[in-house]
């Protein structure tokens, strides 16, 4: 598997190839914690303004502007403020955070410290998906090292800034990647999403002001402070700042984690050259560029279309950046089968809180199972779309929308695959 930057100097991946990259020593030898020192000589407003100027958007999938999210926190509130890192990486096709957590844990600690300093927080939680247990030991050691070096704990670097770090684990639930469900889980409850407003910035963990950010979002913060928000922004495009990690999987010759500048040209080159092209003797059929929850793209929406890889470019091309979980499929994949697979995923991961998502994903799974068993009927395509229409925009959280988009995209863009399964002589039984 490849881990490398293309079209830009490695930023997120700057240290990952160094021996013992996870240690404080190597991190500091390569510029680590210089940004924290710089930030501690800046005002909170200046730090937040740099993050705003960077145009950094949440890398977990929703793409919300990070600087704006931070600015919602009432810094004058007498309550404790919390910084929570969302390391519940669970979007199918996404595995970038795993490598950051394993190979560059101090970058996350530094990013969280800068956030904590800017927002007046004294407590940081890193919420790992339960399956990433082996990564927690690495982080706990990194926190211990940082503590011994007076970078975490009381009177950090001789200042009056105090900040403690805690690792916490989930136990197998995709929904806990949704930030309010994550907070419920961190409080020891079922991973049910919460009503918004109040947003976590006002009432999050323990009803205190809380910022929840993805791993890749937080590891970008030291880079932004180091080079300045505008310079970081300029690595990308006008509306999509900086660089982004793409987790590439499926039928390419060189799967891996790739760091690309936002606005990378273009998706065809990325798949066919950078990722080594499709495995021998096969051809591209479809690509899901942003994790399973975004619209799948057909090969003819990619080839010759100069698809720009950033937030706006992918919307124009008919999909989304999402989490950057880039799943490539060749002609051997039956889209009905791949969509059935995702439908089962959303059914399993629906938390059951709201009816459209709980019942909708269950019903969809039943339909897809019947189709897979040879009982597909011509009217099923429309039935699926009608059903999906009753989930999209009607569920309590975005999981319902995610399921809806994954399925909608497949039915609308790959009708020939569905036609093969939806046979007139199957009747109405």
């Amino acid at each position: 598997m490849e881990i490398k930057a293309i079209g830009c100097e490695p930023l997120q991946l700057k240290r990952v190839h160094l021996k013992d990259s996870h240690t404080l020593k190597v991190y500091q030898e390569n510029g680590g914690y210089a940004s924290l020192k710089k930030a501690m000589n800046m005002s909170s407003d200046d730090i937040i303004n740099e993050v705003k100027a960077s145009a950094l958007r949440g890398r977990g999938g929703a793409g919300f502007p990070t600087g704006m999210k931070w600015s919602f926190v009432p810094r004058d509130s007498p309550k404790q403020k919390y910084i929570v890192c969302n390391a519940d990486e669970s979007e199918p096709g996404t595995f970038k955070d795993r490598y950051l957590l394993e190979l560059d844990p101090h970058a996350l600690i530094e990013g969280m410290l800068i956030a904590a300093f800017a927002l007046g927080s004294e407590a940081c939680y890193i919420y790992y998906r339960g399956e990433y247990r082996y990564l927690i030991d690495i982080m706990d050691k990194a926190i211990e090292e940082a503590k011994a070096a007076n970078l975490v704990g009381k009177n950090i670097l001789g200042s009056d800034f105090n900040c403690e770090f805690y690792t916490h684990t989930g136990a197998g639930a995709y929904i806990c990647g949704e930030e309010t469900a994550l907070l419920s889980s961190l409080e020891g409850y079922r991973g049910h999403p919460r009503m918004k407003p109040p947003f976590p910035a006002i009432e999050g963990l323990y009803a205190c002001p809380t910022v929840v950010n993805n791993v890749e979002t937080l590891t970008a913060i030291p880079q932004i402070i180091e080079m300045g928000g505008e310079a970081w922004h300029n690595l990308g495009t006008e509306k999509s700042g900086g660089t982004k990690l793409w987790s590439v999987s499926g039928h390419v010759k060189k799967p891996g984690v790739y760091e690309l500048p936002m606005g990378y040209m273009d998706m065809e080159k990325f798949i066919m050259e950078d990722c080594g092209g499709i495995r021998n003797g096969h051809e591209l059929k479809a690509c899901i560029p942003g994790g399973s929850s975004v619209y799948a793209m057909r090969a003819d929406q990619i080839f010759g279309k100069k698809v720009r890889m950033d937030y706006e470019g992918l919307v124009e091309a008919g999909s989304l950046v999402g989490s950057g979980g880039f799943i490539v499929m060749d002609e051997t994949v039956d889209i009905v089968d791949s969509t059935k697979n995702l439908t089962e995923f959303y059914k399993h991961e629906s938390c059951g809180w709201c009816t459209p998502c709980r019942e909708g994903t269950d019903w969809l799974t039943k339909i897809f199972t019947r189709i897979a068993d040879g009982g597909g009927r011509p009217e099923d395509a429309q039935l699926i779309l009608d059903l999906v229409d009753n989930i999209e925009g009607k569920s309590f959280c975005a999981l319902g929308d995610a399921a809806a988009w994954a399925i909608q995209g497949a039915v609308k863009r790959f009708p020939e695959d569905f036609k093969k399964h939806l046979l007139p002589n199957n009747g109405n039984n």
Binding site: R98, E131, R133, L186, G250, T332
Partner: protein, 176 residues
């Protein structure tokens, strides 16, 4: 090898008032988890503590849950409410090695069905079953975040990636 002793993941809990007992070392470990959270927010430690129960008892059982309820000043139903939500908590006895094959899209298109079939044939059980010697349980689970090295499986907490049937044989044969 062995034939099956259980057929699915049905909750096997028998609800009684029995409370588990733990050694002072384990109690100290449990108490260390409490230090991560504000004193009045002990419930936050529930998921990490359920993992301790599962490790010590082999599964999340009635007596272990009763212990946690006392330990955290919760109702027994509060503990069950959380324990039954998360897929990593086993509500029945499972084998010493829990083989969890990732079944989601990237793994599926990279050969997961063959891997699962191979494991089941080798062990002589179906998905969801445990071998008669209680050594192996096989599950298919949702995306484990290892898509670039698909197909993959997790055995207990260890990741095994870029699987082939030969590699699976080696791994399973090495487990005692």
């Amino acid at each position: 090898m062995a034939s099956a002793v259980a057929t699915d993941f049905t909750n096997q809990i028998v609800y009684t008032d029995e409370v588990a007992e733990f050694s002072p070392e384990i109690v100290a470990e449990m108490e260390s988890h409490l230090t991560k959270y504000p004193a009045e927010r002990k419930r936050s430690a529930l998921i990490p503590l359920l993992f301790v129960i599962q490790r010590e008892r082999g599964w999340v059982d009635n007596a272990g849950v009763n212990y946690l309820a006392r330990f955290l000043d919760l109702e027994v139903t509060d503990v069950w409410e959380t324990a039954t939500f998360y897929s990593m908590f086993n509500l029945r006895k499972i084998g010493k090695y829990h083989i969890q094959v990732c079944k989601t899209l990237s793994c599926r298109i990279m050969g997961e069905p063959d891997i699962t079939e191979h494991i089941c044939n080798k062990l002589g059980i179906h998905v969801g079953e445990t071998t008669e010697d209680e050594k192996f349980t096989v599950s298919r689970v949702e995306c484990l975040g290892s898509c670039g090295t698909a197909p993959m499986m997790q055995i207990n907490f260890d990741y095994h990636e870029d699987l082939t049937t030969e590699k699976v044989d080696k791994i399973l044969d090495s487990l005692k």
